[in-house]
């Protein structure tokens, strides 16, 4: 029912071929963006009028949180493709991306905590934003655990995909938690209808770092998917013998 041109890469061989071609470009641009973005953010961007130098935590915290949501959403989409179209590569994507997403969620939670102590006056509160982000972390952990239940990725992948799709409801809750309820966490500064409320001298390093984080995700994803595909091949060999 859904048929896009991209599905020609559902063939693992074609996919690996494409990855081999673009990998080096991704790696180089990742290093460039990460280095430039973080350097600008940490050393070359202005202090905030209220927070001073503490604002620099933002250059790690915000891109990590974005990646955590973006990766979960992409896992949910891939899970739909796996359950409906039965493309094995979609399942391998879900299995490979989960750990990366969980790491970004943990980074966002930890840096947020470190940021919260001096500015808000507390390491942790149970407000809607922080709690829903913690739930996202547990969803990632659950998703990874289901894959570890069985050696047979095709079977465990179906259960994991169901969890990923049902858990997707948490994503809009995280995004809009700061608008729907009173929270300690402030509302969105960048992704909102009225445009960013963050000065361009801080916004540009932030966006560059975010792009660097995204490229990092792609690089690690390709490495993990490549080894996962090899793994599958080995498993299939031993099954047929």
């Amino acid at each position: 029912m859904i048929n896009f041109k991209i599905f020609k890469y559902a063939n693992p061989a074609k996919f690996l071929n494409l990855c081999d071609k673009i990998f080096i470009y991704l790696l180089v641009s990742m290093i460039a963006f990460l280095f430039f973005g973080l350097y600008q953010g940490f050393f070359n961007s202005p202090e905030d009028y209220q927070q001073g130098n503490l604002v620099r935590i933002m250059y790690v915290h915000v891109p990590s949180a974005w990646m955590a949501l973006m990766i979960y959403s992409s896992i949910a989409v891939a899970s739909c493709i796996y359950l409906i179209n039965k493309h094995l590569l979609a399942n391998i994507f879900c299995k490979s991306a989960s750990l990366i997403g969980a790491s970004f969620t943990l980074i966002a939670l930890v840096t947020g905590s470190i940021w919260g102590k001096p500015t808000w006056g507390t390491w942790w509160v149970w407000d809607a934003r922080i709690t829903s982000m913690l739930i996202l972390f547990f969803l990632y952990l659950g998703h990874m655990t289901i894959f570890n239940f069985s050696e047979n990725t095709t079977k465990s992948g179906q259960a994991a995909a169901l969890l990923a799709i049902l858990g997707f409801i948490n994503i809009p809750i995280i995004k809009f938690s700061v608008d729907w309820w009173n929270t300690l966490h402030q509302p969105a500064s960048v992704i909102k209808l009225s445009g960013p409320s963050i000065h361009s001298s801080m916004l540009i390093p932030l966006l560059i770092t975010a792009l660097g984080f995204f490229l990092y995700f792609l690089v690690v994803l390709i490495i993990r998917m490549r080894s996962e595909i090899t793994n599958e091949k080995i498993n299939n060999l031993s099954f047929t013998e």
Partner: protein
């Protein structure tokens, strides 16, 4: 109906059903998810004696009175205001005009705080720009 379509509708209806349930739960629990009440809300709450709540709002300009480590200030939501007493360490961002959240209880219409948290708003800018905006 092909098996593919069947799987799609099954997933779609399961997700819609879950959205409906979660939405209902969140609406029912709305009052518990709120992290704090504003001054106008807190007077309508009929709080029990010494019931612990969180109160959030802006620190009114020129309302901070320091007396050794005791501090008192007024929290306002620009409609109603409440006087707050507190003893302890204040976060960096605590200042007049700033959004704060205090935890404690109401006694004789004065809020006795045991914890003060500062809220940050969604605006980030260098100090020079802030000065320019103010002039």
């Amino acid at each position: 109906m092909t098996p593919k379509k069947k799987r799609f509708y099954l997933l779609f209806s399961a997700f819609t059903f879950l959205c409906f349930i979660v939405g209902t739960i969140l609406i029912v629990l709305q009052d518990n998810i709120l992290f704090f009440y504003t001054p106008s809300e807190i007077f309508q709450k009929n709080l029990k004696k010494n019931e612990k709540v969180r109160l959030g709002g802006l620190v009114e300009e020129n309302s901070i009175v320091r007396n050794d480590i005791k501090i008192s200030f007024t929290i306002t939501d620009l409609k109603k205001e409440i006087e707050v007493n507190y003893e302890g360490i204040l976060p960096d961002l605590f200042r007049e005009g700033q959004g704060v959240i205090v935890k404690g209880y109401l006694r004789n219409d004065i809020f006795q705080a045991t914890e003060v948290l500062a809220k940050h708003d969604e605006n980030y800018m260098p100090p020079e720009i802030k000065k320019k905006l103010e002039n």
